[in-house]
Amino acid sequence: SQELEQSPQSLIVQEGKNLTINCTSSKTLYGLYWYKQKYGEGLIFLMMLQKGGEEKSHEKITAKLDEKKQQSSLHITASQPSHAGIYLCGAAKNSGNTPLVFGKGTRLSVIA
């Protein structure tokens, strides 16, 4: 079965600092999704990447998928307290209606 490894498991950064979260798979990914979850709440979609080498940005968050489509990174520039939460990567095995599998998440805390 497909496993997604996220690193680090948790991260504490000072407000204004940049940070990167990684998501790695042992198998080629068809699609890679990034979600944010606040404790005890639902998953908020951030971005989806499909093509090798693809990069997308939204506000201060940038996500990249490597050429081999086995690793993705999420980069936050000039972090703010509103960025705090759990970041989850989810991946699709193929283009069909298969469910996403998720990594364990990275818990981000941003301190003033």
Partner: protein
């Protein structure tokens, strides 16, 4: 903005009782999913549903679980006889596109506590 809505937000039940969790997916979506997240653990797939039938299910989704789309809007998850280990947050999700090319929208979740 369209959203997936779930009820109840929190349910407490006794072990052995039946529980029904309800979801209203986004109105023009065709693909529906249930996931669960035990406290402190990863989000796990339970079941996917399309065209009024289960399209895929995980090992977690045993005979105690069932799903139904009783009308054109609701999508329900039933647990027949709850166990302590069923305590978790249950998320409903829906998608409008046929393939894994579009956003998967999640609801806010239903927290189930089994005593």
């Amino acid at each position: 903005e369209p959203e997936v809505t779930q009820t109840p937000s929190h349910q407490v039940t006794q072990m052995g009782q039946e529980v029904i969790l309800r979801c209203v997916p986004i109105s023009n979506h065709l693909y529906f999913y249930w996931y669960r997240q035990i406290l402190g653990q990863k989000v796990e797939f339970l079941v996917s549903f399309y065209n009024n039938e289960i399209s895929e299910k995980s090992e977690i989704f045993d005979d105690q679980f069932s799903v139904e789309r009783p009308d054109g809007s609701n999508f329900t998850l039933k647990i027949r006889s709850t166990k302590l280990e069923d305590s978790a947050m249950y998320f409903c999700a829906s998608r409008g596109t046929a393939a894994n090319t579009g956003e998967l929208f999640f609801g806010e979740g239903s927290r189930l506590t089994v005593l």
